[in-house]
Symmetry: D2
């Protein structure tokens, strides 16, 4: 298993008139989590893309536990629990400064060839990166 | 069962550098769907809020089938399949101009008192609105 | 001079905790305006891009007059007032349902070759499109 | 004069299909700048709002110099150059990791009473905070 913890602050534009973070921001917060997990392992997602591989989402799930508020410093824990052979699943949980669970969820991403847009097996550069953890 | 169909056009800002609609826009598209379903029934979500009721999300699921592209005219079908006693679940499916399925998913929303932020049973104004369909 | 009028509805996600449309949404609303102006003339911006031309912003100005609210049906008037020789300037004004001015502004866009990312003169397909109006 | 420097990373969702940061994200980046300037001075914007004061935008200007890219670590310099008697103007400049100027601009914000939504003079808590610098 691989885990990363990253913190970021809620922006004013991310709130809505309920006075809480709008539900539609969490997929973007999840993207921060997986980007930083890759970076911690030594591979920026930018490099993956420049190798001609894209990772679009296959599915997304979010379970909202409590609202996050403007200016909250949130911490996202991102992990890969299973060997990502044909798709890669990330699990996320977001905590506020009181260490209360705001939200948890997952995304599954496919490996696609950027040109043909066809699915591919796990790219060698990702295998090399993740193998030590499984 | 209640169903609504609404169309809207993809904005440039909603694309990302993969050249497709960024995954994080779909929760907002789903919001368009449920807003228009309420409007078709004769109740704007604005009125629900001004009655002191808010409907934050409890969960969200999205299954991405094929990418949507800039300037696509998308059609979202939104439906309520079950009597929404303590929570209200909306199911969505989004189609492109070729009537291909782009994406499907659901959201579950809680009924909260806007002031106390405590859960409540289905509000009478929503009962009155939906009862003819169940 | 060329003018277009287009209407669209404010989304919930576009509000912020002040209870109004967040200031950062107006550049995207302006994009709706210029997209629809091009479409009315018979040229989608999509076609311009597939001809290898991109139009990134050179500058943007917004003057906020009164807030727009959730679910407002806004109307944006977009116009090109001067022959767009080396850059193209769009002027915008946004009105609410009471025909009150919400907001006005402008954007200047450059013509760039999509591959080289170098500035170019007004593309022939844009000349052809706009010439009847000047 | 008061100046603040803050860094943040470009998110994938902030790019568009031109492969650059979409123009509409800069107003939100500017909001990060002014939030952090206030925080450095010891006053979170959250506290200002809880004192019943809101600061909506009166105007916004952005001059785009060069594109920012996905995953760029950007630095925003925010400053208040003049005593903000009836409105407060922030000037911004954004630099990439090569210290090249990406973008510069300004916003003017009004002081409003959150309840009446009427303009007010500079609030005492802001006077106290800024006076040492002018």
């Amino acid at each position: 298993m691989i885990e990363n913890k990253t913190s970021f602050r809620v922006r004013y534009a991310e709130t809505d008139q309920m006075g809480i973070v709008n539900n539609a921001n969490y997929p973007t917060y999840y993207e921060i989590g997986r980007t930083e997990l890759f970076r911690e392992l030594g591979l920026s997602y930018k490099i993956i893309e420049s190798a001609g591989i894209i990772l679009p989402l296959a599915d997304l799930f979010v379970k909202y536990h409590r609202p996050a508020l403007y200016d909250d410093m949130l911490t996202i824990k991102t992990c890969i629990k299973e060997w990502p052979a044909s798709r890669i699943r990330f699990d996320y949980s977001i905590y506020n400064e009181d260490e209360k669970l705001v939200n948890e969820g997952y995304t599954t991403l496919a490996y696609l060839d950027a040109k043909s847009r066809r699915p591919m097996r796990i790219p060698p550069m990702v295998v090399e990166l993740l193998q030590p953890y499984f």
